[in-house]
Amino acid sequence: MQVTLKVLRFDPAKDQKPRWETYQVEAEPWDRVLDLLHKVKADQDGTLSFRRSCGHGICGSDAMLINGKNRLACKTLVKDLGHTITVEPIRGLPVEKDLIVDMEPFFAAYRAVKPYLINDEPPPQRERLQSPEERERFDHGTKCILCASCTTSCPVFWVNGAYLGPAAIVQAHRFIFDSRDRGKRERFKALGSGSGVWRCRTAYNCTEACPREIPVTQLIEEVKRAILFDRF
């Protein structure tokens, strides 16, 4: 089938502002959008730039706005999109070239929540024990691939780039609810601050955008409750 692929292009060396470019691409229904981008780059326009690595939804490199929604290009098939496909960079992070955005603000928020196990007690000789139920409690957050789909679909983040954003809060959740962790109070400092969880307006965009089906909004609500109950 013939697909019309419209890509929002931007080359900082040449363009004042982003511009649309349209390509006709021969595609199979089971092709990934990533395959289309590769075809364009190979046959039509080598200057088209985008990130990708694993190609099957686990590295998180190729999050982009596809037909108006945040998705991974390698996990979105042509058959689910129709004959006209639009592709834009994810929103709310500075565009560096074409579909590539500056990820540093995103990872700065990640680092701010102390995304690592905090436990200074001397570890036992063998593993720390944890029941399957305790392990299950934070399972959702461990699926996060840091693709930024959730954070860059959040209207609060678009308006206020200082907001930690859903992804960072999911990372915090993953440790706050880990029975082995002792660092929740340290994390609450960032999470309870003006740019923390209370900015969330429960728009659910993040949950809809997550390519790993993490119930992001629910996890944010759980973090809010954990902070509230910690005061009593």
Binding site: G46, S49, I58, C59, Y116, E127, R128, F138, D139
Partner: protein, 577 residues
Amino acid sequence: MAHRHEVIVVGAGGAGLATALYAAREGADVAVVSKLYPTRSHTGAAQGGIGAALGNVEEDHWEWHMFDTVKGGDYLTDQDAAEVFAKEVIEAVIELEHMGLPFDRLPNGKIAQRRFGGHTKDWGKAPVHRAAHAADRTGHMILQTLYQQCVKLGITFYNEFHVTDIILEDGVAKGLVALELATGELHLFQAKAIVIASGGFGRIYKVTSNAYTLTGDLQAILYRKGLPLEDMEFYQFHPTGLYPLGILLTEGARGEGGILRNALGERFMERYAPTIKDLAPRDMVSRAMYLEVREGRGVGPKKDHVLLDLTHLPPEVIEKKLPDITEFSRIYLGVDPLKEPVPVMPTAHYAMGGIPTTLWGQVIRDEKNTVVPGLYAAGEAACVSLHGANRLGTNSLGDLVVFGRRAGIHAARFAKDADYHELTEEHLGPSRERIERIKNSTGKERVAVLRAELQQSMMDHASVFRTGELLQKQVEILKELMDRYQRISIEDKGEAYNTELVEALELGYLLEVSEALVHSALNRTESRGAHAREDYPERDDANWLKHTLAYKVEDGKVAFRYKPVVLGRFEPKARTY
């Protein structure tokens, strides 16, 4: 721009992060230079588990793990490496748990373990539960956990920096050059010690589980500089790649009870490995699948693949323990593994060969184990040689933490007593020239076309089964492709995120590692592990119980030297399962 760090690690996958972490814990000033963001490295794609004789589910011993590794490697495994590995991987798994890694748990709270190909109890008598796992995203969890610890220690990261040169002078590693993708600027890095942990090169093949970014960059850079690559002929095809894309479906699926079936519905592995059937090592299963297809028992309109049947397993086992691969087959094939078997075929997966090192990750330059001062390698980029002629499933994740840690510790200690070397802007010259040549070329050859021809021809002539005739043909094809590579040109002349330039550089690396692989395979006139020569079907210990060191002489010309296999408590025996 110039930078200076005591230890610089190239690559931010599991091996690179483990190296960086342990080097930093030794007190070194550490930086990581990676062409990706760390959490996007391909360790994240590893699914099924990390093997360690924890004995949490049933009796197990490191000696059994060592034996399985040596036998799995078809006795090309160095037994000193296997011993260090089987002992230290236990400690490494416990340390990962202490770092916060979310392993699945048994009801008693201990780390859960499952079966995996080639892992046995009692010296091969039956499969054993040895693979510690976190659903089917164990690699993802290891990568995330190691990165988290690096963030905690404040290790410096140069993300999206593409290394273009390792500076080796007077036989000593002095620093490196890297292209900053965001700006197109070349950076000079001074280092006392450099650790190469840049992963594999599955993209030489058309069907592969490997990321687009796995192009053998650093192996090729060192090979061009006259350093050897060891045992490159041994390239592993993982039996269960999702057909036809090659996306990995973990061996853990068979560990949980999944069965391979041919077009007649037969469990064909009963014929090839009667003791452990579908849990035979990967080289044997991959060959068996090809043979079934060749003998007309393949599935589908082209009769060119087989099926992985999980339908008899309880749905909750599939949903809980194999969620990601279930999703992959639903998304990419529209096949629900709960209801119907999944089409699979072997997919290029792992390089057993690579940059030769000592047990502490020091890169060596010859068969006498002469060390290159200041240069280290770990993980899939390296060859210690733990995996010999065929790697057992789960031993890659174990390899990268055990030998990443050893390389990190040794590099940090080496750096303490070493001085920085003088480097000047002139050291950027060769990289700059290479980049300018590509950008200014008016040739007519296209990168994507050459790459596709390379990948298809490697698949046709140098994959699971090989013959002298096919390999010779591939030697000629590679010569021609290398010649045409001199005439590639690109459209993107810009500086910021010139990904077309990066792909052009990567194609050069793919050609180099292919050359080392094909010549090494043509040279080895026996069948051992993943290297199956139809014209030499038997293992030949009298002549070939030795490691290949391949040296580049010029394009299309390769010289060989040999290193004895380190033997030990396990005498080479016929390999039956």
